[in-house]
Symmetry: C5
């Protein structure tokens, strides 16, 4: 609320009303289609394919013209990370399917995005579908895309829904400059590292929502408007979407840890446990924010009712004071013939009739004001402000 | 809301108030009836029975005059798909029961529709009950019917509640034109394919509701009426029904995957896993929409309260301004005798009495207007519109 | 709502306000009593005891004068169904306990009604407690009573809380006229058959509530009154009671299917699976109706708020139009002395002063009417009706 | 509500506003204290200790001066029930701890009351913590205290929080007069019997709340006041507390049945199953009442809104009728100069002007009354009463 | 509310609006960072490190200048408690990591605070993360910090987030003065003791909230203001945070008890069971308070509506009484020419016209007052107070 607060927070510029949101609408399958039918635009360009091949001693980076070029690297002992940027076209997948021996259902899940995150074991391959959510650097919304992992004996194939953005640059640097233990480990450790980057990307997104909620906590008590209501609902919906993205990711990682897999070493299991931990923390934050948002909805409704009370009090105070006074004025505006009888409105002819009338009205008004003051109706309690 | 939006969406024409809905009311059993008692109309016509018999090399299609005609095909190595369109009569089931050796309880579940979806193992047979929900092509509502599967060693018996409609045409084409691997697989793969078509049919239905909800998200903040309330409640009820249809389907498929069955090959298990995935996605969408609908109900109530505040503000502003003025007018309408005493309403005889009176009233009115303007009551905040 | 609707439904005559309800209040145990203490009225008459003894070839029916008479039948190979109608007195239970070798805790559960439904295994006996809920034939409410089953090797003992009514007549007919397979099966099949009749009896009861809810769906939007609120709450409470009756029944049947028991053949297990299916459907319906009822409560509250808006709009329109007009009339009712100064209310002496005054008032009234019409306040949107 | 109802119910005298309640606030441990630190008042008197020693043939009762006196009885074959009435002092526990070889943690749980009910196995001992809730005989509230059981091979140690009251008298009688099988059984059966008495004591307490709820069901629709709201909230809180007391008790008994224990014979297990049954019934009742109470809160809010509608209707009817009439009276109170022009209020000089004016007002008032009557505003629907 | 109540409670001084709260915002990981990256301020001072080394016979306390100094103690048979006060800097962790052979992921969890509480097994080490919440001695809020345990064969490493405060002093005393059995036990018992102190510290915090809720229970019915609403919401949020802190702690301790670990003796397991018990009690209290808080929110909304009814009643009473009277006064203020016709307002010339008019008005007013009194509108039911 206060201007200095805006400076304090780097995410406060985010505007949930205009900026990109994280709605998830699953890819709608074509009823009755042959399994493995890919929803690709026929004239889509081929994707950019980056091959990073490394072992403890060397690390090389190639931009491939065609999937076929990576064939030579897959069977060598070195780790081959084939990173496909964009979903490409039918031609791409004919070749990728052949070289990596991908089951049609794997291809379907990788291409018909978004899918629900999951882990699936195939013979000699482990498939992992994840949803990457990243806060855009200039804080103008979120970027959401599916990243699919196919882990084989000596290789890792990753397919990104969109080529422009990912959160993997620091991993690329760690390979290139041999930081940490990544170059000493296999493709399972690489998959863990990338997955870990994806999960870590949820934290700033959630913090952005956490700060929105903090602002709303003030707004909802001090100045509730229909816009507030709209914001609460939208945040609620966005948190629902984040929850849908992260929950299955947690289950997938958990099943990997619990059941194990030949393609994942014991050492990497320990690292996956850390990754699992972080998904649990993300879920914990999402659930907390969801409960807070539900609470805000209740507070909103109560605040609106409070407002109504304030409005009605004002109307009642003004009406209650002036209606009796107007009645008195009405009495002395009657035209009874004072000449006809001394019982007909003798006050009109009193010397101090008018003053008496004013006196009466002032006494009545003062009594009513006192009555309302006693009941505390003049306490301006709608101005409560949080520190 | 905006007219171009109507063009954008193919489902927006759907009107939940007049079009067919997806209410599920389970078949009510006759208390104390013999197990296997079938609720059939005695004079119902026999159903159309289509036999499609195929193997890798050939595929033939027959329209049978009587269930007995399929007897010859059931024991051959080729896959025999007996598709019964409509529930038929007692005669039909006497014959079907004999040829397929159906347990009375199977017959009951297939005929007394609708049943709760499920999988049940019998000796040499696997029974699967599914609910098919399809969006009508001209978007005039939904079509819901039960489809029952009886899977045997070399055959698949399917029974449809109603003969007019199904979503299996593309499967028939795949058999006829030998597309995909269907002709190389057994009746278990055929059952998977049909079930997959049924599940995929839920997606467009849910998208239709998703778009209804999006429209309501605007309506509920900008223009909430009793009709809005009615729509929210109806969508809520329909989602409840969809959930009742899809949840047990998920459990059924899951039990098949988890426990396995002699009639289902390992390869088809993998395909069923994909089918399971899709049921989970459908459930995820249903639950999301249900939560959004609950949220909308809360927003509706808050919006109505907001409206009330607006109405009361208007009444209070008008009353508060005019009641004091009317009081003043009343004062100077009193008939105190100005001749009798100089204390009796001397203003009436002032040269500028009337102007003074107007001045007083203008000052009071202006003060009140200023007071209300200060409190922000003239901010027309009920006109908020989403982009 | 419409009169023809009353004809359409056979349950619509049911009136939840006056007719018998299905409240369940468990038998309250006497603290510290000896296990097996029976809450029987000391001077209760002995119950009617019917023995139906049958095998594949014969079926006989006896009315017993005393429990001791059935002793001779229990050990024969034929199935002996001892049906005790009414709870009887201490004497009855002394004899029944001796002949059937009933554990004191069995006697307690059978006599101190109602108990929570359950299955319990004792040595050589299986005890099943069920709650029977039947819609009275003339639709004047529900009948609820406990039915207890004690299944032994060659016999089935059933004890009914009340002698007047049960839903077992069709089962008696099936035994008498040898319909279906009942005469070829043992007492386990008989127990299944009776239990199945009890479960099937829940369906019409639930349909009666389903139709009540449908009526309320209209009423709550078009004409919400405190009576509506009362009805919603009562249905909610009744559904809660039905749920309490059926949930433990499901668990009991499920534990029988899952764990098996020497007294139940494999063939009867399959029939119990069907019975389990029906309990699941009943629960599904109860839960659906419960959610709809909760939704109705929300709709009710929103409808009441809508009504309030309508009332306030009317008050505001009338007040806003007439308060300014009355103010103007008040102005020209003031008594400023027009003779004293030409500034004092010269309008009173204009030739067309009165007409001018009316003109002014008509312009103001018309402006206000236009203003309210523009804001849509005259749209009579409270008259929405469902088709 | 009706006076005869008060006679019908023996619990209706209970007043939740003034009488003792069942709030549970767990004993707050001293952070960092040595395990086994006992919160005892240093100058507390020693507790009364009753030893009842019995076998099939004899039963003796001793009042012990000191815990040490029971040492001689513990190892004999007869069952020794050491009943400690009150928590005593440090000295008591030094001796009790030595004789019964109590682990410090057992002592802590027994003395620092209340603890959450539970069962814990120690070497050669089984510890059971239960919460006893009894309705006071004169219905002036509830009595709640912790009862702890330490079951050994030939003895049962029970410790009661307060010496004045318990619900074990009938058990003492059963031992003394050799009623039932208690004298033929071991200390495990004794423990079951006492626990059963405790559980049975919950039923009258819950019935008292059930009747409170029934009264509120009327009150909330016919005459909702802030006092009603207060009562609903208090019952809700009390039910929450009862639920906290009984839930862990159920889990404790269940774990005993499921896992078995050397100190409990198979025969007593069957009796414990009955006890478990009763805890489940208690929980079922608590949950039902909780749901009813939540429903009442919703009904309350709706009833208050209904009331508001009634109030506003009255205001609107009166205002709508009199405001236009007052306007007309205001018109003819204007002082336009009828002498100056024939257009100035000629009605004032008509012969029947005054009667015309009254006629006009009567027509307007009648039209408005008819309008409100048509809309059903005079239907006094706030007087609905339940039978 | 009453002043003596303030004295009764030692926590009532706590002011949730200004004092420190227990919000938990998990440490936000740097996306893509190398596992083991520590979020430390580069110029942070080294932490204070206290080594307490003890066995049954001796106990020594050292303040270490550097982590390396503890190397000599770790392998000896005596228990070495290395207590690191503050998170220190990179240098600290390089050394600690080397001496204790800490996995990088352990270091990350210990340093990047707060983490979600958990237990994790590593080779030869058991890591436990706990959140300590302590009520500040002067009741000016809460202190929350992470305490991490690394349990090895002969040592326990604890790391505290902040050096100023902990709740371990009594444990230090027990070691120093050889109180209880702590000196006879291993590091596992020490870990239990510290964890127990942490859990016990939740009780006073919860009691503080319990008392806040009790105050609000009065306030919400007798004097609900927006400040009340704000307080309810804040308590709700704080309870949500406490729940997030304690739930995972319970799961962690439970997994230790259930799965066992070589580093924990059977005897300490029994003590951990007690500790688990206390976490369950804490959770039970948190959940109870959460439900009460939700109930308070409903009560608040209802109270506000009650208030509105009171306000509207006042307005309606005053308007209904004075509007008809003002109308009558308006009638006799009309200027019909009484000279022109005897039908024109003859009352004005009656001898007792004015008295008749007053009589009429008094009768009307009295009737209305009687009407409102009959309906109970003057019952001042908003003044209900709890004892
Ligand atoms: Mg959406
Ligand atoms: Mg597909
Ligand atoms: Mg898929
Ligand atoms: Mg990308
Ligand atoms: Mg991470
Ligand atoms: Mg926060
Ligand atoms: Mg329906
Ligand atoms: Mg049946
Ligand atoms: Mg069936
Ligand atoms: Mg069909
Ligand atoms: Mg599919
Ligand atoms: Mg959309
Ligand atoms: Mg709600
Ligand atoms: Mg009752
Ligand atoms: Mg008993
Ligand atoms: Mg029992
Ligand atoms: Mg009966
Ligand atoms: Mg059935
Ligand atoms: Mg219907
Ligand atoms: Mg308390
Ligand atoms: Mg302790
Ligand atoms: Mg303890
Ligand atoms: Mg006692
Ligand atoms: Mg009992
Ligand atoms: Mg009841
Ligand atoms: Mg914060
Ligand atoms: Mg990391
Ligand atoms: Mg970590
Ligand atoms: Mg510290
Ligand atoms: Mg503790
Ligand atoms: Mg609740």
């Amino acid at each position: 609320m206060a201007p200095n607060r805006l400076q304090l927070s780097k995410f406060r510029n985010f505007n949930p009303e205009t900026d990109e949101e994280v709605d998830i609408e699953y890819s709608s399958p074509q009823p009755g289609a042959i399994p493995g039918t890919l929803d690709l635009e026929p004239d889509a360009p081929p994707p950019e394919i980056i091959l990073i091949d490394y072992n403890e001693h060397n690390a090389e980076r190639f931009t491939l013209n065609s999937p076929q070029e990576c064939g030579a690297y897959l069977d060598t002992e070195s780790v081959s990370w084939v990173d496909v940027l964009g979903l490409g076209n039918q031609e791409t997948w004919r070749e990728l399917g052949k070289i990596f021996e991908l089951h049609p259902l794997i291809q379907e899940d990788v291409v018909n995005v978004p899918q629900r995150p999951k882990v699936e074991e195939y013979e000699n391959q482990l498939v992992l579908i994840a949803l990457m959510v990243i806060l855009k650097p200039n804080h103008q919304g979120f970027h959401r895309e599916q990243v699919s992992f196919v882990l084989g004996k000596n290789y890792l194939l990753t397919v990104q829904e969109e080529p422009e953005q990912d959160c993997f640059d620091s991993v690329r640097d760690r390979i290139r400059f041999n930081k940490g233990i990544i170059r000493k480990q296999g493709p399972d450790y690489l998959a863990y590292t990338l997955l870990d980057s994806i999960i870590d990307g949820y934290f700033p997104v959630l913090e952005a929502y956490g700060e929105q909620i903090e602002d709303l906590e003030d707004e909802v008590v001090t100045n509730p408007t229909p816009r507030t209501l709209d914001k609460i609902y939208r945040i609620k919906r966005q948190l629902l979407n984040l929850r849908r993205a992260i929950w299955p990711q947690r289950d997938a990682i958990n099943s990997l840890i619990r059941d194990g897999n030949d393609l994942i070493t014991h050492e990497v299991q320990i690292y996956l446990r850390d990754c699992y931990d972080h998904t649990v923390q993300v879920i914990d934050m999402v659930e907390t924010y969801r409960e807070l948002t539900s609470g805000l909805m209740d507070v909103y409704l109560s605040s609106i009712s409070n407002r109504m009370n304030e409005i009605m009090k004002l109307l009642t105070v003004i009406s209650s004071i002036f209606i009796p006074l107007t009645f008195i004025a009405g009495i002395y505006g009657m035209n009874f013939n004072t000449d006809k009888s001394r019982w007909n409105m003798p006050e009109l002819n009193w010397d101090y009739g008018y003053l008496f009338c004013w006196g009466l009205m002032i006494v009545i008004a003062a009594s009513l004001v006192f009555f309302f003051w006693k009941r505390g109706w003049f306490a301006n309690f709608s101005t409560i402000r949080r520190k």
